[in-house]
């Protein structure tokens, strides 16, 4: 693992997704579920991208999932693993895989959410192997 840490740019918080980032400060991963069609979606929207209902609700995710795909960026000073993790709730989210040797990451690997501080903004959800 690299001793130097990559600086994480702060996400911009908009009213539509304020709940998501407030929960992140509490260490909770929220996802949106549509009360009309029952589907989860990510990234979060106020209007469901599947049925266009505005009855979308915040739910706390279990925070567990598996790696759908990843790529280790080796060209920059501090290598890092970008990934999509498919949550137990069925949606995939972009993230980083952390707290492990980057060369041991595998697609299908089980992971859990860990929050990491951003540079002047709320913490962001990353994932570590279980």
């Amino acid at each position: 693992m690299s001793v130097k840490e990559r600086k994480i740019p702060a996400p911009t918080v908009y009213p539509e997704t304020q709940v998501y980032w407030e929960a992140a400060v509490q260490g909770k991963l929220m996802i949106k579920r549509c009360a009309a069609c029952g589907e989860y979606h990510h990234y979060p929207r106020s209007i469901c991208p599947f049925c266009f209902s505005d009855k979308t609700e915040w739910r706390e995710a279990a925070g567990k999932g598996e790696i759908y795909t990843y790529s280790v960026m080796r060209r920059l000073e501090i290598p890092y693993a970008i990934a999509y993790v498919t949550l137990e709730e069925g949606v995939s989210m972009m993230t980083n895989i952390v707290d492990c040797d980057l060369d041991t990451i595998r697609i299908g690997q089980k992971v859990r959410v860990v929050f990491r501080p951003s540079d002047g903004g709320p913490p962001v959800p990353m994932f570590a192997p279980i």
Binding site: Y43, P44, S71, Y80, I82, G108
Partner: protein, 388 residues
């Protein structure tokens, strides 16, 4: 209404420059506009439709039409990244069929090389998009987004780095004959897989070049095309589609070509097996492989086998592709390779490709572009053309 046979590509031009330290972007646009009008045998005053995308500075057509001194009655600056210009040909054909213009000029230009842009490894932001807070903190850059698509395809279908390397090898075989190509050396599979890893599993030689320059296309109505002295290249069909993360139900092994391709083939009334030459967007080797599958040149998952053993090399394989060397070896002006895809397809149909790579009696060609990022959101545009 269909655009089939309603419009012809009367002019194409690719700027020979690959590093433009002493030229501005608008100047490059003007140079390719001048070049394409000369190729078509038309003059500036014949142009009554203008198409560009966000590589043109300012408010696109407003600034460019003024700068170029055009008098037009139809403009379109729809941007779907590097595939915009493939789509613009279809849009121009629509406008011509609807009587909105007679001679459409499409231009592209840029100078990322002169500006020292780290195209593949530096973050790129396209405005305050709703996805940005949920992606930007994690360091998405061009090459790791395509890397993720490649990793998934390898996992799902057993595709190998050696198979991807064959795409670069084929491009290099073509580029050796192109005096303007940025990289003209023929490479081997071993050289590709042994080049430095940029972002897993993409090596340096899986990535396209960074280059300056641009290109332009003239689309016109049949009567005008037939009055000119150039070989006739007819637009048969076009398709376009954006594809994203689908609310989190992700599929990185399929591109928008799976939607734009069938639409174009249906309009053209031809099948993938009929295509004699294909220009396939090649920002990375994986881009080519996914698009070939999605366009129906082979089954999903069998792209690795399809591209191997020189199957994309002109005169050797079944589907000659990117005979100018493509974005991988020749040119990727403004980090947008769609326009040059159309240019080389037209050269093939006119029998004006380099003799070493010219497809014999090439009468039916396809150009396909992918713009944006396969790892997140991208646009696909397919164009099918016929020599008359």
């Amino acid at each position: 209404m269909s655009i089939k046979g309603k419009a012809y590509i009367a002019g194409v031009y690719e700027h020979p420059i690959r590093r433009a330290d002493d030229k501005s972007i608008p100047q490059l646009h003007a140079e390719v506009a001048k070049g394409v009008l000369a190729d078509a045998g038309l003059s500036k005053n014949d142009v009554d439709g203008y198409f560009c995308a966000s590589d043109a500075p300012g408010l696109g057509p407003i600034n460019m039409v003024d700068y170029l001194g055009l008098k037009v009655r139809h403009v379109d600056s729809t941007d779907i990244g590097g595939s915009s210009y493939v789509m613009h040909v279809g849009h121009a054909a629509e406008a011509i069929a609807a009587g909105k213009c007679n001679v459409a000029l499409i231009t592209l230009a840029g100078r990322p090389k002169a500006d020292g842009m780290a195209t593949g490894t530096a973050p790129r932001i396209f405005g305050l998009t709703p996805d940005l807070p949920f992606e930007f903190p994690f360091g998405p850059v061009t090459v790791n987004m395509y890397g993720m698509a490649a990793m998934r395809h390898m996992h799902q279908y057993g595709t190998t780095s050696e198979q991807l390397a064959w795409i670069r090898v084929a491009a290099s075989h073509h580029a050796q004959h192109n005096p303007h190509a940025v990289m003209r050396d023929v490479v081997t599979v071993e050289e590709v897989v042994n080049s430095p890893m940029i972002s897993d599993p993409l090596h340096r030689l899986d990535c396209c070049v960074i280059s300056d320059g641009g290109g332009a296309i003239i689309v016109t109505r049949p009567e005008i095309a037939k009055s000119l002295k150039r070989p006739l290249v007819k637009v048969l069909g076009a398709g376009e589609a954006p594809k994203g993360q689908m609310g989190g139900k992700l599929d990185l092994t399929t591109t928008a070509a799976a939607w734009s391709g069938p639409a174009a083939f249906e309009e053209a009334g031809v099948k993938p097996a009929d295509i004699q030459y294909a220009s396939i967007y090649d920002s990375f080797t994986i881009t080519v492989l996914l698009q070939l599958e999605d366009l129906g040149f082979c089954k999903k998952g069998e792209g690795g086998k399809f591209v191997s053993d020189g199957n994309l090399i002109s005169g050797v394989g079944k589907l000659p592709f990117n005979t100018d060397g493509g974005g991988l070896c020749n040119n990727h002006p403004s980090n947008r390779g769609g326009l040059t895809k159309v240019v080389e397809a037209v050269r093939q149909l006119r029998n004006e490709a380099h003799p070493k790579v010219q497809v014999k009696n090439c009468a039916l060609a396809l150009a396909h572009g992918t713009g944006g990022s396969i790892g997140t959101r991208h646009g696909g545009a397919t164009l099918i053309m016929e020599r008359e």
